[in-house]
Amino acid sequence: MSPASGLNLTPFIPELVLAGGLLVLLIVELIARRKRGIVTAIGGSILLVALVIISLAGNEKVGAYMFGAVVQDGVTLYFRVLFALATLIAVGIMASTFKKEGEPYILVLASVMGMFLLAGSNDLVTLFVALEMVSIPSYVLAGYRRHDPRSGEAALKYVIYGAFSSGLMLYGFSLLYGLTGATGFAEMTEGLKGALSGSPAHLVGIILIMAGIGYKIAMVPMHFWCPDVYEGSPTSITAYFSVLPKAAGFAALFRIAPLIASLKPFYGISAVGLITLLSAMTMTVGNLGAIWQNSLKRLLAYSSIAHAGYILMGFAVIVSGDKPELHGLAIQAVMMYLVVYLFMNLGAFLIVDLVERRLGGDGIGYFKGLGKSNPLPALALAVFLFSLTGLPPLAGFIGKFYLFAAVVKAQMWTLALIGIANSVVSLFYYVRVIRDMFLHDPTPATDGGIGSFNMGKLTAVLTLVTVVPTVVLGVFWNTLAEWLKLRLM
């Protein structure tokens, strides 16, 4: 057991603040009678801002604490800030939809609590409890529009896939536990280094765990729920789904990575080969699937699958693990990409949600001629979509650049080529939306004769909050890169 065991609560302050704030919010929500939603959203936002500040202030890296159940290192700090920041924007997006009820915000914060714990998990048990804490509120959120059968379908699919993949993951956990007799990641990695590595139980255990985490990040072949859930859930909730539980899945993958890396080749299946294959499949299926979509929500769902594939490229380098400096580079690239992805993807969903609220739908038809009737939202969406493609000088390019740099330095040529081919394919469907927005004239058939609409103050501010980093990080990325590097030291 690690030396820093025992009841040391100091590094745990962000989680304690979050849990306390959650209880306070629950009471505030009951007292505020009519303006429940607004009050809870504001309260939640204040709590999240406080969390960003506390997380940034908690710079000390203490290692494992609380009997080794959790660990505080640079990655924990980074993910805490990322989760709090992304949730802050997501709560802002939700505030336009949920004005009369406070429960969605409380559910989101409960699942953020799980994410915080996940970022620092150092043990299979903590990891599993934290993952379920992320998932269970999400199931409710998916089905929040109870009167809409599509929302019910989304929730049901989410629950059933979620329970199934949790079961697979637990089976994987039990196999690795059976091999090592430990649940702490450090002890398990140590135990798996010897003769056990590369045994069939080890391989099957890793594959099953990847299935469980793959469900969270919408990785092929565990991605089938993703387009349906994204389509059926309320759009502002989809915005939240597309970034936060996914980033949480990657946080879990960070923690599991040493266990995967310890896998010795078994009948030619190595850890790197496994992740490379999953990454290539995920981005290809995501991008090819997106081409045929006519609903923007479904299109962005497939695009988010593709982006999970890109991020997995970084993990392929992380688990290759023979050169430490390459390792650091890949972790930095993944962390960088998640930050960039947060802004551009939340921004894209923000505009889709706006158009859906004003014009009544998210079909590609509603976006035809948007550039002429409502130039500002259309321009913002164009920026987000170009950034998602990875075109310079936007942030998406920098994110992809770091990932590809790591892959190329690790000399994984095939993976790099597949990634580049996929980026080219993705250009096609993103640009199709942009072309429809700017090269078509708006007609009553597409926008229901509404024409120009008011963005609303909140949406305007949120658009600014997401557009500015998407553009600025594309030019001045160095500060972020340096900050991330410091977290890794």
Binding site: F67, E103, L107, T126, I136, V140, G456
Partner: protein, 177 residues
């Protein structure tokens, strides 16, 4: 002696599991499921996992099955969904999947003898050993589970609460503003 007990319990567990999926009446299925759980609890005791065995009886065979029975009786399901509603292709796929599983299981058992597994403390399954671990090593996940339950309770309340279709009203407001 022990092996005889194991074989008898395992056979009853398997047979009742088979009954669970072949009975037409859902109530009968649930009752056979209880029998399966009890048999599995016996197997746990034989492995020395007393605490897990007790939990198996109290939580699964007790609480969860009662819940199942309540739901079934409230929904008043009639067992009219028989085999005839399932297409032959599905049955074929089911058998194919079962065959693959058998293949994997056989391969697994053949290599199992040569595999080293971690030696575990024989006292591990006792209540006191379990309590020691739960309230020291796993104190944090145990306590945090309370927040998980709180989230789940809020979720359930949010789902069942009677309320007007708030979202629709706001769409209209949005268009006017």
């Amino acid at each position: 002696m022990e092996i005889i007990l194991f074989i008898i319990t395992a056979l009853i567990a398997l047979a009742s599991a088979l009954m669970v999926i072949t009975r037409k009446s859902p109530i009968a299925s649930v009752l056979f499921l209880v029998l399966t759980f009890v048999c599995i609890a016996v197997l746990y005791v034989m492995l020395g996992a007393q605490f897990i065995a007790a939990m198996q009886i109290i939580v699964y065979a007790g609480a969860i099955m009662v819940l199942f029975l309540f739901v079934l009786m409230l929904l008043n399901l009639r067992g009219n969904q028989g085999w005839e509603n399932i297409s032959p292709a599905r049955i074929g796929l089911g058998f194919a999947a079962a065959g693959l599983l058998l293949l994997v299981a056989v391969a697994w058992l053949k290599t199992a003898g040569s595999m080293e597994v971690a030696g575990l403390d024989p006292e591990m399954g006792t209540v006191s050993a379990f309590g020691d671990v739960l309230f020291q090593r796993f104190l944090l996940p145990f306590e945090i589970a309370s927040v998980l339950l709180l989230g789940a309770i809020i979720g359930v309340v949010a789902m069942i609460k009677r309320k007007p279709l708030a979202e629709l009203g706001e769409d209209k407001e949005g268009k006017v503003s």
